[in-house]
């Protein structure tokens, strides 16, 4: 098993490098650069081009593409992740401050969708053909069909403005003393993020649960006189859990994408919003590092889930 993990981690490096080159190239091809984005056009109406050039020189935007890439790469390996062009704050600080916030949202969304999805999947698989099963399937499909930001905004309108149950957005206020006080702010965004993912997890876990219910060992378990819940859960669900975990690993990148949208709607100070601002501002050191960290984060978590599937399913373990 350790050899397998080692091999997978070694595989990260070429992929991360390839990814960083792809994005650096991408940023390079983007028309305009950081300086042109920094100055608002209204202001620039009475500035001479050479004043702009002085600034470009100062930010080192004028040296050729390859040199900047190598310089940037070199910095990474020395642990210096560079500075955000706009605020001069080390990129490492921005990421260390903002990434946990996004992870908190994404992982809560993941947990909600995993638990809710599998439970609803089991229930509708066991009660196949009943009214409950149809309603759940339909609610699932509808949940998947509504654009997320639309769902989020309606949620704000209802729960925050009309019924005042949850705050409108943001994450912390100065008068928060304990760490758990900000959880109230997490509920709505995590729910919206989780619900849209739950739909697909539910459909998948329902299919894999029904598949395992037909197997002989479930009938054998029942023939041992085990109670119905034990037959369905301990034997039926335990086997159908593996494909669901594989699905979660595959859906992970999707989760990060949708958290960019959710952070935008709920003013959630995560890395997604920062990334979008940085991309449109051409702030390449920040964009590069966030993209790299997100990719590595996604690879790590999918490796963890991959290992989990091996633990869950002994047949695969020996490979």
């Amino acid at each position: 098993m350790a050899k397998y993990i080692g091999k997978r981690i070694l595989m990260f490096i070429p992929m991360a490098l390839l990814m960083s080159f792809l994005i650096f190239g991408g940023m390079e091809l983007t028309p305009g650069d950081f300086v042109s984005n920094m100055i608002s056009p209204d202001m620039a109406a009475n500035m001479t081009p050479d004043e702009l050039n002085v600034l470009r020189e100062a930010y080192g935007l004028n040296d050729p593409f390859l040199i900047r890439y190598v310089k940037w790469l070199g910095q990474i390996f020395q642990g210096n992740w560079g500075y955000s062009l706009s605020s001069g704050v080390p990129v490492k600080d921005i990421i260390l401050q903002r990434l946990p916030v996004t992870l908190e949202l994404a992982l809560t969304g993941l947990v909600i969708s995993a638990i809710l999805g599998s439970v609803l999947g089991i229930v509708s698989a066991l009660k196949r053909g009943s009214l409950l099963d149809h309603t759940l399937t339909l609610a699932g499909v509808i949940g998947m069909s509504i654009p997320q930001f639309f769902f989020g905004m309606v949620a704000i309108l209802l729960f925050a403005l009309n019924w005042k149950i949850f705050p409108v957005g943001g994450r912390t206020t100065p008068d928060m003393v304990h760490w758990w006080e900000h959880l109230r702010y997490l509920v709505l965004p995590a729910l919206v993020l989780g619900v849209t993912q739950t739909a697909s997890v539910m459909r998948y876990s329902r299919a894999s649960m029904m598949d395992s219910m037909h197997k002989d060992f479930v009938k054998a378990a029942r023939s041992k006189g085990l109670p119905e819940w034990r037959v369905n859960l301990v034997h039926g669900f335990r086997v159908s859990m593996t494909p669901v975990v594989v699905l979660l690993a595959l859906r992970l990148p999707m989760l990060v994408s949708s958290s960019v949208v959710i952070e935008n709607v709920f003013q959630w100070p995560g890395i997604g919003v920062t990334f979008k601002e940085a991309v449109s501002a051409g702030n390449y050191p920040l964009v590069m590092m966030i993209a790299l960290i997100i990719v590595i984060m996604v690879l790590i978590i999918s490796l963890v889930l991959d290992i989990l599937t091996r633990v869950l399913d002994p047949r695969v373990r020996l490979e």
Binding site: F217, K219, K224, L226, E228, V239
Partner: protein, 335 residues
């Protein structure tokens, strides 16, 4: 039928309702399973033999039910229990399953849960029915594995099903079934998926268990060779009905029903050489959804007459316990 009856099935009718159609899988079947004797149920696939076994254990799929008839279990301690009336997964039915009546399935590859250790699955049955400590259960499982002839039980108990060979896996399934010394063992084609040499070992094992624990065995097979070797009593089923039954010697020595005779004739006998004449039965089993009116075997029977087409033959006792259900069994030429 000299032994004492454990399970008596009277006029059992089990219908299936999948795809909004009604399929009369078992259409009035009666027989007795006796202690210490092996009753063989034989017939082509789709004749309802597995459904009968499932009906006894109430393991029928969701869209099916026992329409009529009765299944009675004569328990030594609790008197007669009418199994067909018990709630499907109710407490009482479950207390019998695995303890008094056990079942082993056809394909050993899928009968064991792939994600749990074999030992654990056997202990699960013991712990379900007897309140013994885990160590007790584990020790009994080890004894069972030894009794089943599985080598290195200490190592094997903690292995997973995919680490067992086919034969050994079936031995483990039997160990699981026999873990609480059941009174009745329902075996649904236990050896079909195994090759011949392993088959012999499995049957030898079942014989020794029968001798030792006086267990009643219901053996379902479609292989007449198995019947001749293992059976004390035989019932031959066709399209949901028992068309001939009796002791092994009565049925095998003097088959009366054309279908039984054809079944026996279609087995290649060792040593009779290449030219021996094997006549397969012409035609195919009819579609369960549109069954012929009268005797179900009529379309494929060489001796059928008008009455066969009209009405379903009743049960006739020839001598002793030898029963046949055929209008014109007398016209069938005896060798």
């Amino acid at each position: 039928m000299s032994g004492e009856s454990v399970i008596s099935v009277k006029n059992l009718k089990t219908y299936f309702y999948s795809e909004n159609r009604c399929n009369k899988a078992v259409n009035g079947v009666s027989f007795e399973i006796e202690r210490g004797r092996t009753l063989c149920v034989v017939g082509e696939s789709g004749c309802g033999k597995s459904v009968t076994a499932s009906s006894i254990m109430q393991l029928l799929p969701k869209l099916s039910r026992i329409e009529e008839g009765e299944i009675v279990y004569h328990s030594e301690t609790q008197g007669d229990i009418v199994l067909s009336k018990l709630k499907k997964n109710g407490k009482e039915m479950r207390s019998l399953r695995g303890k008094d009546i056990a079942m082993i399935f056809q394909d050993p590859m899928t009968a064991l849960n792939p994600v749990y250790k074999v030992g654990w699955q056997i202990m699960e049955n013991i712990l379900q029915h007897e309140d013994v400590t885990k160590e007790e259960a584990r020790k009994r499982t080890l004894d069972l594995l030894i009794q089943m002839g599985i080598p290195e039980p200490e190592k094997r108990i903690d292995q997973y099903p995919h680490e067992y060979s086919g034969g050994m896996r079936q031995r483990a399934v039997i160990a699981m079934a026999m873990s609480c010394n059941p009174k009745v063992l329902l075996a649904d084609e236990p050896t079909t998926a195994l090759d011949v040499t392993i088959q012999a070992q499995i049957f030898e094992l079942m014989e020794s268990l029968k001798k030792e624990h006086n267990t009643a065995i219901l053996l379902i097979t479609h292989d007449m060779g198995v019947v001749s070797e293992m059976a004390d009593d035989v019932i031959v089923m066709y399209m949901g009905n028992v068309i001939e039954s009796g002791t092994a010697r009565e049925v095998l020595k003097n088959p009366v029903h054309p279908y039984t005779r054809a079944l026996l004739a279609s087995i290649p006998i060792l040593g009779k050489g290449k030219e021996q004449q094997i006549e397969p039965i012409r035609g195919m089993t009819p579609n369960p959804h549109n069954r012929p009116k009268g005797c179900q075997f009529e379309p494929r029977c060489d001796f059928s007459c008008d009455t066969c087409r009209e009405s379903m033959p009743g049960e006739e006792i020839l001598e002793g316990t030898h029963m046949v259900r055929c209008h014109c069994w007398r016209e069938v030429p005896r060798e």
